[in-house]
């Protein structure tokens, strides 16, 4: 079946034409009205350029000349066993759900696993299209989020998780990206809903397999209902050739608490968005970003947290290191809406430059439309402290070891707040591997 799209937009680049061609191959489904709206809006807007405020630091011009096609669907059996290496030991996790190029591979539909209902988005929207559309329609000003629009238009299927009780063991979603040639694109989509009073930990781990890693346009929504608690990790560990454009949306109801960790350890170009809306009184969000740039990597992290109701709390803690010729960007914005009295927010961003050719940019922003709020922000970028370094050298430590220890110590603020000990240990381990003199650091742990 060929579908038509009534658009007045001038579809100018090879990339846009290829996305439009993908749209035409998609079968109509119960989400079609939302998808069509998203596709039209996307074509109108085109790809973001460095003239767009939140894309100032990331140039996607090289993408425009490519004609993208869907990354292949693969079964569990086609994935090499080592790709399913998890961040957690088997005994410490509830389960590992596998998504390959965005396609969920579930043991069966309608699975209930230790208090988490697991379903595909396709199946859930077939059962209740109205309900699922609410999760796909963008928040008020989100129709500028072009990659989200494209994902909404083109994702074939995704995961819908509903946490119904207090779940002690973490659940891992392993995202494997694996292409069969250049110019593959994948659209992973995950929706996680925490029912009132529920509690869980979910870890999304992005890895790549094989020579060609698809362009990854992923999107996750966290919906926290009243008094629920969710600890969410997204960990990027793909190879240096990978381009990953990820968006995370967080919607929080009354009294809910969300702890979110964004950890960038891999990828060639990684762009992470976080958009949180604290929509009801008492909602609390603590977000942490741990951004590691080396070689010629580009890491761009953009957070927007909106306090939409009174007595809401947020904190954002970012630690970035950049070595070699890498570039790391962390921009955060807090918006306090009119009526959101007694809200509190904190933004702390620190960058550590390890090479004269590396660059870190950071900018905390505040937009306050309410009275009686407490909003603090601070940002620093610097080099290793020479006094600390000399102190360690004067005790006989190797210069490399001393430097690695100081880098590690710099990142510790984020690591110590991770509640899942084994996740923390795995992330520490992965992190250490990226630092100079990994062997020495291992001995310290």
């Amino acid at each position: 079946m060929t579908r038509t799209l009534q658009t007045s937009a001038h579809v100018s680049s090879a990339a846009l034409r290829s996305f439009e061609a993908q749209w035409r191959t998609r079968a109509a489904d119960s989400l079609s009205p939302v998808r069509e709206q998203a596709m039209l809006r996307f074509l109108e807007l085109g790809l973001p350029t460095t003239h767009d405020e939140t894309w100032r630091y990331t140039n996607l011009r090289t993408l425009t000349g490519h004609s993208f096609i869907d990354a292949p669907r693969k079964t569990r059996g086609e994935i090499e066993p080592n790709a399913s290496l998890s961040l957690l030991d088997a005994k410490e996790r509830a389960a590992t759900l596998l998504m390959v190029n965005g396609y969920p591979t579930l043991p069966g539909v309608d699975t209930i696993l230790n208090g988490i209902e697991i379903n595909t988005i396709r199946e859930s929207s077939r059962l209740d299209p109205k309900f699922m559309r609410r999760y796909l329609e963008p928040l008020s000003d989100a129709d500028q989020k072009r990659w989200v629009l494209l994902n909404t238009a083109l994702f074939v299927d995704g995961l819908y998780l509903k946490i119904t009780t207090q779940v002690a063991t973490p659940l891992v979603i392993l995202h494997v990206a694996t292409g069969d040639g250049l110019d593959n694109v994948a659209y992973p989509r995950v929706i996680i809903e925490a029912a009132p009073g529920s509690k869980a930990t979910i870890i999304e781990h992005h890895v790549a397999q094989g020579e060609h890693t698809p362009l990854n346009n992923s999107n996750t929504l966290l919906a926290l209902r009243q008094d629920s608690q969710l600890e969410h990790y997204r960990v990027y560990a793909t190879g240096p050739g990978a381009t990953h454009l990820d968006s995370l949306e967080i919607r929080q109801d009354q009294g809910s608490r969300c702890k979110q960790f964004t950890i960038v350890l891999g990828g060639g170009l990684v762009r992470t968005g976080l958009e949180a809306h604290l929509g009801q009184p008492g909602a609390t969000l603590d977000s942490y970003s741990l951004l590691v740039g080396h070689e010629d990597r580009h890491v761009d992290c953009v957070n927007t947290v909106t306090h939409g109701a009174r007595d809401t709390h947020s904190s954002q803690t970012a630690r970035a290191i950049a070595s070699d010729a890498s570039r790391v960007i962390f921009n955060s914005k807090v918006i306090v809406d009119a009526g959101a009295e007694h809200s509190q927010s904190q933004q702390s961003s620190r960058g550590l430059l390890l090479s004269p050719n590396a660059e870190i940019d950071t900018r905390p922003q505040l937009e306050i439309h309410a009275d009686e709020v407490k909003c603090a922000h601070g940002a620093t970028i610097g080099r290793l402290d020479p006094d600390m370094l000399f102190y360690m050298l004067s005790r006989g430590l190797d210069r490399d070891a001393a430097q690695s220890l100081l880098v590690y110590a710099f990142l510790a603020d984020v690591l110590t707040d991770m509640s899942v000990a084994s996740a923390r240990a795995s992330i520490e381990n992965a992190l250490i591997t990226q630092l100079p003199d990994a062997q020495i650091l291992r001995k310290f742990r």
């Binding site: 004067s394 006989g396 070891a401």
Partner: protein
């Protein structure tokens, strides 16, 4: 001769601080270097430990007969030189015990000895902590993190006791200590005294020298050692002040 400093000059941030220091320290001796503020005492200590942003502009320093100034800071430490800092740095996120263990292993490795056994090390450190009357929480804290001034100084001496240097240079280790802490720190230093080691105490006050009795006392002023003597020189300085003792020699 353990340490021989000849005509040493050094500059910090474009300013000449040391202007021809001469000093000889034999194994088994304790020397005290006293002097007014800004005389160059701390600069001398930092230059000996190998601080890179302190530029040596002239003179020589030999340690056990070889050129000390040729070595980077870490190799000086492994060769048996220890600096007790006037202001020990806080390094949050790097554990005290890990640092100390790495320091000890670096020294052992340089001497061709095997790494210290984990259990053995913990036993050693607990024993030294007890001697220095230090709190157990030290074991889990970051290097000097949140320590009071007195705790930091105890920690410096603890590190010295574990590393057993041939030459310890203690830069105002007595400043900021109450009388009880001063006794503990002094006992730590005295426990290290033996015929194979030497200690150089940099201090403002005669008080410390009641507890650690020096063999020689030197007065550093204006970047030079202007007067040397036995322990009675310290008492004389206490009674008459630097101006009174040095008279017209003060720069």
């Amino acid at each position: 001769m353990l340490l021989k400093i000849s005509d040493l000059s050094a500059r910090v941030a474009g300013k000449d601080i040391l202007k021809g220091v001469n000093l000889e320290v034999r194994a088994g001796e304790v020397h005290a270097i006293m002097g007014p503020n800004g005389s160059g005492k701390s600069t001398l200590a930092q230059v000996l430990a190998g601080r890179e942003d302190y530029e040596v502009t002239g003179g020589t320093v030999t340690f056990e007969g070889s050129d000390l100034l040729m070595l980077p800071a870490e190799e000086r430490a492994r060769a048996g030189l220890f600096l007790g800092f006037q202001y020990p740095v806080e390094i949050p996120g790097v554990n005290n015990v890990y640092l100390l263990k790495a320091a000890l292993n670096a020294k052992r490795k340089a001497a061709g000895e095997p790494e210290v056994d984990a259990y053995e090390f913990l036993t050693l450190i607990r024993q030294k902590m007890k001697f220095m009357q230090m709190n157990e929480s030290f074991l889990t804290r970051g290097v000097n993190e949140g320590f009071s001034g007195g705790e930091k100084k105890r920690n410096e001496v603890l590190q010295m006791l574990v590393l057993e240097p041939k030459l310890a240079i203690l830069d105002e280790t007595d400043s900021g200590l109450d009388i009880d802490a001063l006794k503990v720190v002094s006992a730590g230093v005295n426990s290290l005294r033996d015929p194979t080691r030497a200690v150089v105490l940099v201090t403002h006050y005669q008080r410390l020298l009641d507890y650690i009795v020096p063999d020689r006392v030197h007065v550093l002023s204006g970047g030079r050692i202007l007067k040397s003597g036995d322990k009675s020189l310290a008492l004389e300085l206490e009674a008459r002040g630097y101006d009174g003792v040095l008279g017209a020699q003060v720069a």
